[in-house]
Amino acid sequence: MWFELPRAPMESIRDGRALDKATLERLYVKLEKPMFNVVYRWLWNNGDAQDVVQEAFLKIWKVRDDVDLETVEPLLYRTALNLASNRRRSSRLWRWIGIEAASDEASPAATSEEALAKAQTRQRVRVAIEALPERLREVILLTEYSELTHQEIGKALGIPAGTVGSRRNTAIAQLSQQLGDVEGLA
């Protein structure tokens, strides 16, 4: 005697581990802000940073069948960093040949002493972060803004977890050299 069993949906086969639209949106809500903050320090432009973060999600969505949910967060950060790096390079090239206007966002005109001081601090921070080599910048930004462990950051960047720690220390030393002592940064 034959009994036909109802076919289980893919989600239940994978025990809820499939990357479906709802899961991707949940991930976006969770990671939008930290990823935006990381990518912003590459491009220094709100619109570009948001666009790159979304592009990273769209790329992952296209290959969703091959994505392991356990490692999707480091993968998203890696993808976003690659995209930001590429966009930064092409933007520099266009600017060099005079096609694209400088995309840096103009700081709002400071109306008070406090606002002026804040704008100056932001400018100093930007100069200091820009001065970091890419390999140090990506480590310090990921350790500060993402919730990834050193192990996960190492996986995302293709380096051992120990190297993540040492690069972070080097980055902090270089930033302190430029900006003086930073309170609360060990």
Partner: protein
């Protein structure tokens, strides 16, 4: 400087999720849809042109005739006249007559050569 100043938490522009949803379902723009077939056609044309320009060419009969350079070709002006001039030795001068025949082509030189031996 404080840590919060160095690693300030910025807020992304609003409406991110909605934009993402829109981009996930968006079809390519009409311009892109029109450009893709045009680009494909252009690529095919380029390949065909490249193939055509690299194909083996048919033999050039005129060039081949020039290369052989027989008397007929010289007469027809297809090949240059041989370098050097016609000259007779002292002995030949007694029995041979040599005269240059003018031609309309400066590259062609005809000589009229006649032996007087058998006529005596």
């Amino acid at each position: 400087m404080k840590r919060e100043d160095l690693f300030e938490q910025l807020e992304p522009p609003p409406g991110g999720v909605a934009k993402l949803r829109e981009r996930m379902t968006a079809r390519p723009s009409p311009l892109v849809r029109r450009l893709v077939p045009a680009a494909a056609a252009l690529a095919i044309a380029a390949v065909v042109l490249l193939f055509w320009s690299r194909r083996e060419k048919a033999p050039d009969l005129v060039a081949a005739a020039r290369h052989r350079a027989g008397l007929e070709q010289v007469a027809l002006g297809l090949a240059p006249a041989p370098a050097g001039s016609a000259a007779l030795t002292e002995e030949e001068r007694a029995t041979t007559a040599l005269a240059e025949v003018p031609t309309s082509n400066s590259k062609v030189a005809f000589y009229w050569v006649s032996s007087t031996t058998g006529t005596e």
